[in-house]
Amino acid sequence: MRALLIEDDSTVCSYITKGLKEQGYFVDMANDGQEGLNKATSEAYDVMVIDRMLPNLDGLSILKSVRAAGNNTPVIVLSALGEVDDRVKGLKAGGDDYLVKPFAFSELIARIEAVVRRTEFSTEIVTELSVGDLYMDLLSRKVTRTGQKIDLQSREFKLLEYLVRNQGQVVTRTMLLENVWNYHFDPQTNVIDVHISRLRSKIDKDFDPPLIRTVRGAGYIIEA
């Protein structure tokens, strides 16, 4: 996997590079906007991470040029600006996700994995999902495990669907809030954990092995 990182802060840069390399990425770097645009348009990458504030050319302009050239590489926009309209601007310019600085590295990795996975499968229309011996029918909204029917409430179904679509990858609590509940907010308590534990009691309690795993300090992962 090849990743392009366009970021002018060398500390952040070396940190992300190091982390991505550990995850098995080959990382290309650009420290200013113009250089970043040149690399983004001349070479093929699996994912790009672009900071909004850059010398010479800002991140959103790079993103727009890349998209205008018909390049659909997944892009994560990084920014110190965390307001809703900044987020909307970033996504409208063609970003696949938007992450506000500073962030936990695990959050960035989780999001990179999610956007890469999303683009890989986006071409096919999925009506069925499965992980291990758990099957989800997205049309009839039925869930079975080892053939046994499991009743889920609609939000639980959405939660499970999001986890299964990102199976094998860490999904953070913020990602769940944004994608399952569609609200950008900051829960002060462990509401998400309570929902997960409820879901677990339905799909994992009476079965073996458990599918949902807690990843300490990061979030959750579902895998067989």
């Binding site: 500390t11 965390g82 939000r155 907010f185 900051d186 002060q188 308590t189 509401v191 309570v194």
Partner: protein
Amino acid sequence: MAKVNRNAAARRYTDSTSFKMAALFTLFLGITAGVLAYFINQFNTSALIDRVSIRISADWNSFNDWREMAPLQSIPEVIDGLAQHHRITFFGYQNEDGQFAYGAISPEGLETMPLEDDLVIMMVTSDNIFTTYEFEGAHRFAARFYDLEEGGRILIARDIEDLLLERRRMQQLGLLTILLMVAAIGIGFYISTYVAGLTNKISQTAHQIMETGDFSQRIPVKRGGDDLSDLARILNDMLAKTEELVGSVRQVSDNIAHDLRTPLTRLRNRLDELDDRLLNLGDSEASDFVESVIREADHILGTFGALLRIARIESGKKEKEFDRVEMAPLLEDILELYEPVAEEKGLKIQSRIENYATWGDADMLFQVFANLMDNATKFTSKGGNIELICRLEGSRVVVEVGDQGCGIADTDKKSVFERFYRAEESRHTAGNGLGLSLVQAVMKLHKASIWIKDNNPGTRFFISLQLIR
């Protein structure tokens, strides 16, 4: 609670010192007017006529006395004699046929108006006066006819023109004084209203600032050079300075939060790395310890994040992104989000949600109700009820969140919205003391109000939002 205080602040001007001063002033003027009116009354026509009537009667007595003392003198002789002593009394003699016979005044051809006590008023010109007494135009004379025993009549007249004019002037003066007093009362009233209005504005603004802690408020003051306007302007300048200072203090704390967040995140990421290595080495005990440190770091990061979020909301930039927000779907989502939490704690959530729309930011409003529900579930103990109500009150959408927790003491009710404030009873629970500050910041941005009442047991939060159709 808040409403009552505001009413007290917006005291009616009748309670104000300036009004009381004006009232005292008015009372004093009123008494003066009364005294003046009494004296003016002394100059009224009937009192004047009474006095003239008595004088004329006295003149008649003099006439009779003279005749008794000098029985041999004829009537013209008596009249001449009297005329030398009575310079302002005019005597006239009419014979039995009613013809003017002799005297200083002839009533012939004079317009007469009857008055009380047989008195008449005559319009006398110099032509009818046969002495050296001269005047211009017609003078009013008070006169009375006295029948003589031997036949004929004696006319006794006195010139009262000057007296009447004087009385008239006094009356005009009195009227003028009364008009001036009315004007003075009016001006006093205006001044007291103005002063009371301005002092009320000052106290109202001060009160609102005390209540909301919002230093951006100013005393409304018109252009004008009076001392009260000057005072209001000085107070406004002081508020501006205070706002600036408070703002810079807040700015510093926000900057600290902002500047510390990046290195702290880096620290947290390093700890993550360390944890990975410890797990790879198989040292799960050390890893557990590092994870607890990571949780501490996350807590601090959460606090900084909340501080910055409040700062961003208070900067008010988000207002332009407001949109129509349907309350029922939003609150249903809140219910759905917190229902498992409540169930886990053995609490019941009762809801009564009517759908109304408001103008705002859905994410921020969601955050507000999430924070309130967080608190409600946190403070209500097992078996308790939580209530979520959305209803219409007048032209406002009112959302109530009621819990059955330990309640908030009256002394804490205002302070709970302060940053990092935690009431005695809640110190042992999780949280950073910023939840309600965030709620208040969002409410302020939405021009919504929030107040707290006792729920007996527990606390009930009321949020009043703008209604849009």
